[in-house]
Amino acid sequence: MTPTARRPTKQPKSFQENQIRNDFVIRIGGDTAIGGVISTGENFTAAAARLGFHVFTFRSYPSEIKGGHAWFQVRIANRPVLSLGDGIDVLIAFDQEAYENHRKNLNEGAVLIYDSDLVHAEDGSFIHYAAPFQRIARQELDFVRGTNVLVLGLMAGLFGLPVNSLEELVRRRYKRRAELVEKNLQALAYGYEYTKQIRKEDQYYLGTSDHIQRLVMSGNDAITAGALHAGCRFFAGYPITPASDILESMARELPKLGGICLQSEDEMAALGSCIGASYGGVKAMTATSGPGFSLMTELMGLSSMTEIPVVLVDAQRSGPSTGLPTKLEQSDLFHALYGGHGDFPRIVIAPASVEDCLSRTVHAFNLAEKYQMPVILLSDQSLSHRTQTIEMPEPQHMKVVGRLQPSDGHDGEGYARYALTDTGVSPAGIPGVFLHPYVAPGLEHDEHGHPNLSAEVHEAMTEKRFRKLASVAKETDTPEWAPRYGHPRAEIGIIGWGATEGSIREAVERALERGYKVAAIHPRILNPLPETQLRQFIASVRRVLVPEVNYQGQFAHHLAAQLGVQPIRLNKIGGVPFTPGEILQKIEEVMSHA
C-alpha cells in the first residue's frame, strides 16, 4: 500500500533541517469507542517528556462513558511550555468527526494525519499524510487493535522521537501480557518504518533535548502530592468529575501512611467527616466540583464558626446545575468568596499551574492549621486534568506548619478555647490529648465555647474570627503570593487568577516583543486579597484588563468591590481555556483604543 502525502496548494519547501519548528501542538481526535485516542497522545507525551522535552497537555472528553468525541492535545518544545498554545499544528483524525470538528483550529502550514479509508479530507491548504491505517493493521499485522500504536510509530518517525523511547513504554504497559507486547511492538515498528516511504513536507521536528529529569503530572496529582507532604492523613470525598482522581490517589496512598480515605455517601458527609477528623487533630481534606461544593456550603460555615481547619478543593467545571460536567470554567469564584449564610471568614487560594498545585496545597494546609478556618483551593478542569512538565520541587522550601495547641504544662486553669486574642487565633486543645474538654459550638459562644447569643458576644466573636483574616493578609500580601511580570511602566495591566496564567504570560511575552507596554499580576490568594500588591499594580498602569473563564466577570466584580477599580473584562465560556492569541488580540484591541 502506498502512502499519500499531499502537498498544500501553496507549495511549502520540503523538510529542511535549518527551518525546524520545535515548539508545536499536536491534537488527536476521535470517538472514544475507537479506543486509543487519548492513550496515543499520552504515550507520545510520556516518551517525549522522558527525553527532557517540555510538555503541556489538555484533554476534552465526552461525559458519556462509551462513545462520543474525545480529543487530546499536547504542546511539545525543548524549552518550558506555559500554555496549550494557539491552534493546531498537527491534527491526527481518527474519524471524520475529528477532522470536521478541529479543521477550523488548524494553523497555517498544519499537518493532517488521517486514515484514508475513514476520513475524507478535501482541504488543500494543509499537508496531508494519509494511509489506510486500520486496514494495514488488520491485513499486514492481523492486529486491528494495534491501529493506534501504529499511528504512534508514525508520529515518532515523522516528528523525530526515537522509537526506542516508545518501545520501552509499550513493554511497560503490557508487561503482564507477553503476547500483546510483541504485537504492539510490531505495530509500532511498522508505523515507524512506514514514515521512510513518506516524503516529509512539514517543518515540525523535535530536535534535541537536554535529557534532564523532570516531572510530568496533572494538577490533581500535584494537589494529592502536596496534601500528603503537608501531613494530610484523612481524606473524604464523593466521586465527581473532575475531582475524582484525587479521591482515587488518596484511597491508594493514605492507607500506606497510616491515614484513612473515606468514600463518603454524599458531599455533606465528606466535609462533615473532614471536620470531625480535624477536630481530632488529624489534617483533613476533601475534593469536589461545583455541585458538591454547593452541598458543602453549610458545613463550610461550621468549620469557620467552630474554628476547625479544613482544606476543600473545588475543581471547577462549567455550571450551573449539572452544566457541562467535563468542561472547565472559573465560575465558582463567587461561591468560594461569598457562599454560605452568615458572616464568616474563609481563605481562597487559586493555584495557577501544576507546579502551583503542589506548593499551594502545602500552603493551604499551613494557613488552615495556623488560622483555624476553611481553606478553599480553587482549581478547574483544565488544571485538574492537564499534565505539564515541572521541575523537581525542593521540599526544604515547603515547610509544614501545625496547629497552635495549649502547652503541655497547661493545667486548664482559665483555659478558654475561643480566647479573644490580637491575632484572632486561640490555642486549640485536641480531644484525648488535652485534658480540658470543650465543645466546638455551631452556636455563637463565649470564650469557653459556651452558647451565648448576646449582641456583645456575637460582635466580639465575629471580630475575633475576622481578625484572623487580617492576620493571614499580613502573611500573604506579598509579591510571592501575587507575582508581577512584564513591562515596569506598563500601559495595560492584566490581572488574572487561576489556571489562565500560562496563556496570559505568553500573551504578555508576545505583546512585549511587539512593543506593547504590558504587565500582569497573578495573585494566588483571592481571599484575603493581596491588597497592597494589587493597589500598587493598578496605580502603576493606565488600563486594567481582567481575563477569566466565566460569564459574569466574577473576579473583575470582586476587584471592583474591594479596590474600586473598573477593569476591562475579557470573558470566555464554552469549556476550552484561553489561548495566548485570544488574550494578545484583546491587548491589541485595548491598545488601539488607548
Binding site: M217, R233, G276, P431, Y438, V439, P441
Partner: protein, 298 residues
C-alpha cells in the same frame, strides 16, 4: 499563652490512660458547667443523666469522650457534659462522628440527635454508618416532634398527629427507627426510655462496649408539644423472656409487629469494624517522603 511546638504531621497522638485504680469517676464528673436549657420534665434530662451514669460506669476519662450532635433541643446535650463535643450542623452528627472516630479510634465517640436530625434531614447517613460498622454509639432522642421549632410534625410522629405544620393530621406513616436500623444492618440495636434512666444507662454502657455501630432509640417525650409520658408508661415492657439478641429475623419480626414498646437490646452481632479494617491493608504506617513519592511522575 505558651504554645506547644507544632508537629509536622498530625497523626493521632496516643493518649496515656491513667491506671485503673486512680480512676473513680462518678456521674457528676461528667456533668458540665452549662445549665440545661430544656423545659421542665423534658425527656432529654433522663438521657443526659443516663449518659453521665454510663460514662461513670465505663470509667472513661472525660477528655477521651467526644459527643457529636446535630441541631434541635436534644442536640444541646454536649454543652451540658464535661466531655469534648461538637454541636454541629442539622443532620450531620453521624458524618462528623464518623470522621472523628476514623481519624482517632482511641476516642469514645457518640453521635446524638433527635428524630428530626437522625430520621429526617440526616437519615441518609444512617444506612452507611450501619453498613460500615464504624464504632460509634448513636443515640436517637426521639420525641416524635420538632421541639425546637415549636412542635412541627416529624418522621416519627404517628399518622394523624396534628401539629402546626400538619393541622389536618400527619399523612405519612411514622418511621420505625428500630426496624430501620435492623434492616440497614446495624450491629447493635436497642431501645430505651428516658423515664427509666438506669436501664438506659445500662444500654449506653453496652452500646459503648459493643465494637461497631450501636444504635439506641430512646423515647424521650416532649412535655411542651407532644407529651407521651402516659402513653409510654403504659406500653413499655422488657423484651420477651429468654430473648436471643443474635436472632436478626426475630428482632425484625418483633420490631414489625410489637404492640407493646419493648425496651432492651433487640439485636447484637460481632462484625469487623471499619476503622480497624481500614488499617489492616498496611499495618505498618510509612513516613511520607515527597521526592520518592514523585519518582512515579518522572
Amino acid at each position: 499563652m505558651p504554645s506547644r511546638p507544632a508537629t509536622a504531621t498530625s497523626a493521632p497522638v496516643r493518649t496515656q490512660v491513667a491506671p485503673k485504680e486512680e480512676l473513680s469517676l462518678t456521674a457528676k464528673d461528667f456533668r458540665g458547667e452549662v445549665k440545661p436549657v430544656w423545659c421542665p420534665g423534658c425527656g432529654d434530662f433522663g438521657v443526659l443523666s443516663a449518659t453521665a451514669k454510663a460514662l461513670a460506669a465505663l470509667q472513661v476519662m472525660p477528655h477521651q469522650v467526644v459527643i457529636v450532635s446535630g441541631i434541635g433541643c436534644s442536640s444541646r446535650l454536649p454543652y451540658f457534659m464535661s466531655t469534648y463535643g461538637v454541636h454541629g450542623v442539622h443532620g450531620r452528627a453521624i458524618p462528623i462522628a464518623t470522621g472523628l472516630k476514623m481519624a482517632r479510634p482511641d476516642l469514645t465517640v457518640f453521635a446524638m440527635g433527635g428524630d428530626g436530625d437522625l430520621m429526617s434531614i440526616g437519615a441518609g447517613h444512617l444506612p452507611h454508618a450501619c453498613a460500615r460498622n464504624i464504632d460509634i454509639t448513636c443515640v436517637l432522642m426521639d420525641n416524635q416532634v420538632y421541639g425546637l421549632t415549636k412542635g412541627h410534625g416529624s418522621p416519627t410522629s404517628p399518622m394523624g398527629h396534628k401539629s402546626k405544620s400538619t393541622p389536618y393530621g400527619m399523612i405519612a406513616k411514622a418511621a420505625n427507627p428500630v426496624l430501620v436500623a435492623l434492616s440497614y444492618g446495624a450491629s447493635f440495636v436497642a431501645r430505651g426510655y428516658s423515664a427509666r434512666p438506669n436501664e438506659l444507662a445500662n444500654l449506653i454502657v453496652e452500646g459503648v462496649r459493643h465494637q461497631g455501630f450501636s444504635f439506641i432509640q430512646v423515647h424521650s417525650p416532649c412535655t411542651e408539644f407532644f407529651n407521651t409520658y402516659d402513653h409510654y408508661d403504659s406500653l413499655v415492657e422488657e423484651l420477651p423472656e429468654r430473648w436471643r439478641r443474635t436472632d436478626l429475623p426475630a428482632a425484625i419480626n418483633l420490631a414489625l409487629t410489637e404492640e407493646k414498646v419493648h425496651l432492651g437490646v433487640f439485636y447484637q452481632e460481632e462484625r469487623p469494624v471499619y476503622e480497624v479494617e481500614a488499617r489492616q491493608f498496611e499495618p505498618e504506617a510509612q513516613p511520607f517522603d515527597l521526592l520518592s513519592y514523585l519518582q512515579r511522575f518522572s
